[in-house]
Assembly symmetry: C5
Homo-oligomer: 154 residues x 5
């Protein structure tokens, strides 16, 4: 049975994991979810590494909500760099789901964005694990998780 | 027989892989193409690593189209850093073909740019694999993939 | 018995370690604290690595106070990148507690912030070591160490 | 006997090594100094690595003077990142002593700053090697190498 | 016999390798030059790694001419970071010779700069390989490759 890790934070202002688990379970079965919560996004890389190394996960979702200040964006940059490096060390995918507070105009939109982006990336996780051909079918199609798709140019 | 990996994304708004495959096959034979699609450019480094480690590729093209926003450029920077690191881990070339949406003035130009840059880098891939002397012949010549060559200074 | 490392600096303008030790000991028992002082924040990554490799620590707090100038922020960025990398090399958590001088309006606020942030992260350390379920209980709750919590959106 | 490496550059505009050696020898004995000169600060990381791996140094001082232009600051950032990474690979301290040309108002101040910062970091080197308790005694005291100490807040 | 690698690009607008080879041969003998051409500067790190690992080079010159746009500077930053990392993996020097198009006022100056900087770094390569004491003699002297030396402060 496949093992899907979910790493999330107490810093985030929305329970993205609830959305992730709900969506994953609605899309497929035959996998186990392991959750690992850390304080902030810069703690996510080693959490993901532990999910791979100590919890035998096959893929991990890294869920975070960086704040709106410049220092928050720098933290997100550092976290993302670490997440990419973790993937290379473990030869496994981490699907980063970061929602920036200033991507939304108000709280209602922020909740919708966080929920929707997490769900659409949950679909990506299922596809990477079980149906990679689904991703190839949409290559170059301008998909956008959480917002309306940009669609192909032409 | 040589194995050429192509990693592409569902985020891109043009099917760069179509252009890559078409050009590669028009230029040479005696190789097999393995395609791997991921959601976005930050997923490309580990996809390329898997193409080397799990699919025995000799070289990989990493195709992506970063969006026009500052966060998109930061993602591209993180992806590029990861792609360079992947090459060092695997001792093999990854030819990064990134097309920024704001490099073109309109959709028509964007399509032309994405198509042409991909094709010219497909030529680089063939040269690196089979005819490295072709690259040396053009060293210092100011070549530009996708745009008109800058040419040598003088 | 668990071993908690504390790496701090002579550059910092407040004895964050005093706050950390005081809080850790008020929260729990059954652990030993090992302290390692370096000149500045860029010396923290290898100090943490030594606390793991040479002092057998299970987790480390990295305490620092970057100055207000652009070069100080760059140093903090470099230090943070190194701390993330150290965690990946050692498969252990480093809780980074950085307090930026310009986060506070005056010296009194700066002292309060440094003290409070350190104490709240000491709680995170105890939770990661002994009660990870406490963190999961607060996932998505918008916690903020040192400042008032942002709270969940909705 | 301990071995202290000193890596310096031909780019620097002041003989920081002279100050380092003079100060080290005035502070302590029982160590050997090994010097390694490279063209610029981006050559320092591998020079330090060689001082550890090929010259068996226990600690290294990396001395450099970045120029005042944006590209110089980027070089310093790249060098610092490499120096942190080198320390993690070797599990040993590198004390980076960088003096930025635009930290001083005129040449006289620049010389004084380069000299003084190098000497105060030489003290740090001696403390890290022989008297780590001296550093711990000054943790949180707001020390500043080369300039007047900021001192503790309160 | 020592082996000097030269990695260059088709993107560059001047044949820096010609200058490098000419200068190296005028300065010394008893070495073999191995050349490796890649499309752009971001391909240089793995090219240098291959020159070390597959061609047994003792030192490598990495020659490139980044364009004048912001994206070109970001590419140069990524390439430089990769070159530093490559050196640490291989424990050998890579002398990076990058000439930015906007360092010169016109084409004639650009050619002179590219030629002169390459030649002066060729001297550094020879010194690192055969006469390291020459570098130490000029430590702190404010040398500048390609431009007039800044000279020591005082």
């Amino acid at each position: 049975m496949k093992r899907i890790g979910i790493a999330d934070t107490t810093f985030a202002r929305y329970d993205m994991t609830h959305a992730a688990v709900n969506e994953l379970q609605s899309l497929s079965a035959g996998f186990k979810i392991i959750r690992y919560t850390v304080p902030g996004i810069k703690d996510l890389p080693v959490a993901c590494k532990k999910l791979f190394d100590e919890h035998a996960c096959d893929i991990v979702m890294a869920l975070g909500m960086p704040g709106p200040k410049p220092i928050d964006k720098q933290c997100a940059h550092e976290a993302s760099t670490g997440l990419i490096y973790t993937q290379l060390l473990c030869n496994k995918h981490i699907i980063e789901v970061f929602v920036y507070e200033d991507e939304a105009c108000n709280n209602k939109e922020l909740v919708q964005l966080a929920d929707q982006r997490t769900r659409e990336h949950a679909q990506n996780v299922i596809d990477l694990l079980f149906h990679p051909e689904n991703l190839t079918k949409h290559a170059g199609c301008g998909l956008r998780e959480g917002f309306e798709d940009a669609g192909p140019v032409q």
